[in-house]
Symmetry: D2
Subunit: 311 residues, 4 copies
């Protein structure tokens, strides 16, 4: 199990303790506070704390003394306007803190977003848990032939089973040797009284990249939306996208007006080049432009056809 | 008055509205939430929101599932250790949001700290209030003869009164002309029906640098402490130091254990160069080192004498 | 004059000194190195140093040992791909350093871009030059009635002349009082032997916001393009747009392939919301969608009409 | 070999190509430009480009039109002053770009410094080289009993040999399975015509954390010095310290005046708490203070004794 009995008790203790506050509070988010939301086979996302809500965005955009909100319709209009025109600073006035458990190779991708605060579980200080990410059969796919950094066809179940066996066996063997190098069992206890074992900061190098790590990760709403726009996208690697999807659901509970604007202008929206705008303009006028003559590449043309149902 | 009746009513409404939360809450900070703390003649600092407390620092340093705290003495020890060794990331896990009113020439100094989120009142969008900073007589001093970027002796009250007259007269005249350029009174209403007035984004250039502006400013605790170490220091300009001092008081209410560690290791602590360490080592051994022979400059020597009561 | 004889001599000395380097060098940029490019009435932009060129973007995207470039057509393709898909990190591998002179009210807007390195001329340490921005007649306009933070109609030359007189008179008077407060002429020399004058850090508060300041400003290409996308845009204030335009010309000399991609995908490109995509899709299919039914606001509709020549 | 024949040829081609520039140039750094400096068993550091030198720091601190330098003694004095008082922005005006090859578990530590630009070799796009870090016998040590995140005694050569065997065997096996999962040899060529293999973004998870990766890493001098202060320190893990040491040598060639100031004020300098200052003050006066009564912890006392040769 991802979270053990003691940990669940600690979580429950936090959830049941209530205080009074004059700060902005979001009941929908309070409901899931501290709770692990399962992602992948052993990972999770937990909301630990948050600051602000939709009204805090409006309040800071107006630099107001009070709540900053007027009618709901006005607030919606302002948030849509800010999102549309990429006036990003008011969205920075909301902040959220997560506790996340994730495989190391995904953590390496994730950490490239530099605009967050991070405290990672230290494998110099502590022994990592015996938990590895093993993909499920339906997520094991071959290299894509069109996207050099993506995956293509799902493998036959026979080949996929073989893949899973290899991943499991190697992870288990290297972890057993990790314990052996430490001369210490992950459940506690020296393995061989006649050996000294090596330092944790050295032993960790024997672990495979699908070993789970965990961190506290705190970010403002603007940078979180930027992260989600990239990582909840179809071009993102599946194993990070599932975390992004879980966080999108959280954003929806936290700041529903912002979520809708984000969904309309970013997730469902698109960008066009000058040449593509020109092409569409001609098309709408009833002309029959050719993508080559407009200077649009084949790849761009394929994407444009898909976006606008062109033939 | 700095904050008018309507604004006070809005503030009171926020203060009296209470919600239930499972988040970490700091009763000492709740007491002053939203309230303007007066700084300078028309400025203020207000705490709008906060995330975390001392326990949140411990929690993220330990990447724990629950509160992360054990005994208070352990928590104190850990926070002192983190502060001493400049392990700064756990302090980034606390966040605070202020509403600040301050003169523009101080805002220009302040904004050089880039690691905060800011929403400033827009003088392209709105008309600035008729409020200027005029120093009080005891804060009007001559250029320092030893510190090229500081102030020295306080002026005679006669010369100081003259300074105040000049500052007042120029601020009032340029503000009156600001209204005239806008063709609009700051209290509302067109001044001359036959004129069109100029855009706000242009008219603002006629204001003097002691005009007040305001902003929402949100920052994590680690970066706030860095700001305070520089700006609550005796070398800081008086007009920014008073804001830093007000915020230090707030930090003391918010995270008292961290405040004490900061006070011991940063505010009251000092840094020594390799040469100064060497000098002191000899002195303690009973030798009679000469600062020149140890490669210590006159200025450094003067500072060292002061720090350690040397003659 | 913006730059005086001594300064021009210093600039000429730097321009004529030549060294040999194995670093990537851009002949087109070397031609204008150190030279002030005039902006507004007393401002300028000077390129002081640069790192990298188009090939450096390709090199780091490929993490290559050598130049990283293959055929020019390949490099162009890669840079276009990176720009289109907002793979921004390779553009961060180029860096440029400017010396900029600009009015304070514009500097305040500019500094909101936090991802640059800045050293500003210190008015705590030195006396500011007697130079103010006074707009030319054709740039004096009334407040826009449609854009709350922009300008609208140009003023009659009579009203505009009056505006200029006010701006000039106030700037000159407050500057004269600045000298008086300092008890020092800007050309050097004490004004009144019987007075002490006030510290520079205090006196500066009497200056108006159109006083010129200057700074060294260093930024990577990715963040520079972000700055230019916002500030060379038609919605930007004229007084900052002219700086952005001057820098766009510099970017064109420095990284011509990147400039073209930026021009196509950002400057001339556009963003559409999910609803707008849907609307256009229907239009192209020959349907007659109504913007209201598609959930597009009046303001969005006006912008969409303009972009695609819709009626 | 770390760098192969083709790569060395590419490097040589860059080294021998010379251009003329009016930019600031550092002959000592030109001599080692592009050359790999070996670190660990397969790693390296290469300087790819640089901007500025000691004079550029002075130039920007003075916001000058020309070189900014006066006498060398003045420049030294200014740089020492800036370093001593942590006036960090002028040091941000120098920039350096490295190409670095390093083990993944060290890359994970390294990337926590967020203030750099990074382009890492993509294991989603390409196959990683068959190169792992295997520590040499003298660097294999047990867990420290006093520092929870460091290493203590060096192991007996027998136990160390065993450690090396385990690390080698696991790295080779997991790499062989990486190729098998990809169904592709690292030297090119499909392994089994009847299999499809899995995507690179998936296969990489089977590699161990001592596998080498590489990246382009660009940083300003101020942030580089901060990195070096932490990572060239004795408390840093050996495997990152050797990279920091190599970079310190480069800094010495690049900005020798800054290097000396850094060495005196940071590397060889120290920080004292208010309590420690107080203790030393008493000691120097001839009193016999007790560390317990001064509120200094045992650990602090041990450090203080070491710093000042106290008994």
């Amino acid at each position: 199990m991802t979270v053990n009995k003691d940990q669940l008790d600690e979580i429950e203790a936090l959830r049941s303790s209530k205080s009074e506050t004059s700060r902005v509070t979001v009941p929908e988010l309070e409901k899931i506070l501290y709770q692990p939301i399962n992602v992948l086979d052993h990972g999770f996302v937990r909301v630990i704390d948050y600051m602000g809500d939709d009204s805090a965005i409006v309040q800071s955009a107006r630099v107001s003394y009070g709540k900053g909100t007027k009618k709901i319709s006005n607030d919606q209009g302002l948030i849509k306007y800010l999102m549309r025109h990429r006036h990003s600073t008011p969205f920075e006035m909301c902040e959220i803190k997560f506790h996340i458990k994730l495989p190391i190779f995904i953590a390496r991708q994730w950490i490239r977003h530099r605009t967050a605060n991070v405290n990672e579980y230290s494998a110099r200080y502590s022994i990592l848990d015996k938990e590895f990410y093993i993909p499920s059969i339906e997520n094991i796919a071959s290299q894509s032939t069109i996207n050099n950094q993506g995956r293509g066809e799902v493998l036959s179940s026979e080949e996929a089973s073989n893949v899973i066996s290899i991943l499991k066996a190697d992870a288990e063997q290297t972890y057993a040797n990790y314990e052996s190098l430490l001369n210490e069992s992950s459940e506690g206890g020296v393995l061989d009284e006649n050996k000294s074992g090596i330092a944790r900061e050295l032993a960790r190098m024997n672990l495979t990249l699908n070993t789970y790590t965990q961190w506290y990760w705190k970010i403002d709403l603007n940078n979180l939306l930027h992260f989600l726009a990239l990582r909840a996208d179809d071009h993102a690697q599946y194993e990070i996208k599932v975390y992004a999807d879980a966080m999108l659901d959280i954003v929806k509970k936290w700041v529903p007006i912002t979520y809708n604007a984000f969904d309309d202008y970013r997730v469902g929206g698109t960008e066009l080049s000058a040449k593509e705008v020109n092409f569409l303009r001609k098309l709408i006028k009833g002309e029959k432009p050719s993508f080559e003559e407009e200077g649009i590449s084949k790849r761009e043309w394929a994407e444009l056809q898909k976006k606008f149902d062109l033939s």
